[in-house]
Amino acid sequence: MKRAELLKSEGYWIAKLQTDLYRELISFMERTHKNSSQLAEYLGCSKGYISQLLNGNFDHKMSKLVELSLAIGKAPILEYKDISGYILENDKTFSSVLTSSTPSSKFTICYDGELFRRA
């Protein structure tokens, strides 16, 4: 598969969104010293559902994504970019990674800062 083809594929972006959410949840658990059972209780979800999230398999409604993000103190900022421009930019980033070995790729969703802190 060519890189441009991959960056245009649904699977790539689904996995990216799932993985980003997975990382935010892991980071939240570390910050708040919660295990998965405590996280389930905190979010009011079943342990099975949490285990699905922690396996990087979130594929539910957008409303659930927003609800989860806010519950862990993050704003789920979604950004839309022109795909051709993104591929071009990604190519440049990769070229600079090869020469400077400092990766800095652009993503279309980020969980920005803590909205509020819980006691």
């Binding site: 598969m1 890189r3 699977g11 996995a15 990216k16 396996n55 990087g56 990769f94 990674v97």
Partner: protein
């Protein structure tokens, strides 16, 4: 004896290089990709995403990427997975070599093929290294 070579995986970009193993000019990973059923295409795209993350030294859930090296084995072995798909690779200096891909229901057979190809490849490399060293040793 089979001839082995490595080719860069173009879809993976990051700090670690990802290459696929070629056996007599053909990459088993390419064969797997080309013969993939349409319904599994998305899973493969997701696996490519995971490869990119590993290439950029980012963490993943171990349900997506894990170390499957048997006890006492020197060269690390890895498995990428999504849905029914599995992709098998090994560690090399500065990255990974993808050896083959397969379906979950053929895992046992695929592990045998994977480990056999790994062994043959590593042996072919050590034979090459030995030959190079011999040719560099001055004759008495």
């Amino acid at each position: 004896m089979s001839k082995f070579a490595l080719r860069n995986i173009e879809a993976v970009a990051g700090n670690q290089t990802f290459e696929k193993l070629l056996v007599d000019g053909v990459a088993p990973f390419d064969t797997f990709e080309n013969e993939l059923e349409a319904k599994d295409r998305r899973s493969l795209e997701k696996i490519y995403f995971y490869m990119n993350e590993v290439s950029n030294n980012r963490t993943l859930a171990d349900t997506k990427f894990k170390d499957v090296t048997p006890h006492k084995e020197k060269v690390k072995e890895y498995e990428f997975k999504d849905g029914d798909l599995r992709v098998y690779g090994i560690k090399k200096f500065g990255g990974k070599i993808i050896i083959l891909g397969g379906y979950k229901n053929q895992q046992k057979k695929d592990y045998r093929t994977f480990r056999s190809l790994k062994e043959q490849y590593l042996n072919s490399k050590s034979i090459k290294t030995n030959n190079n060293e011999k040719s560099r040793t001055p004759k008495k």
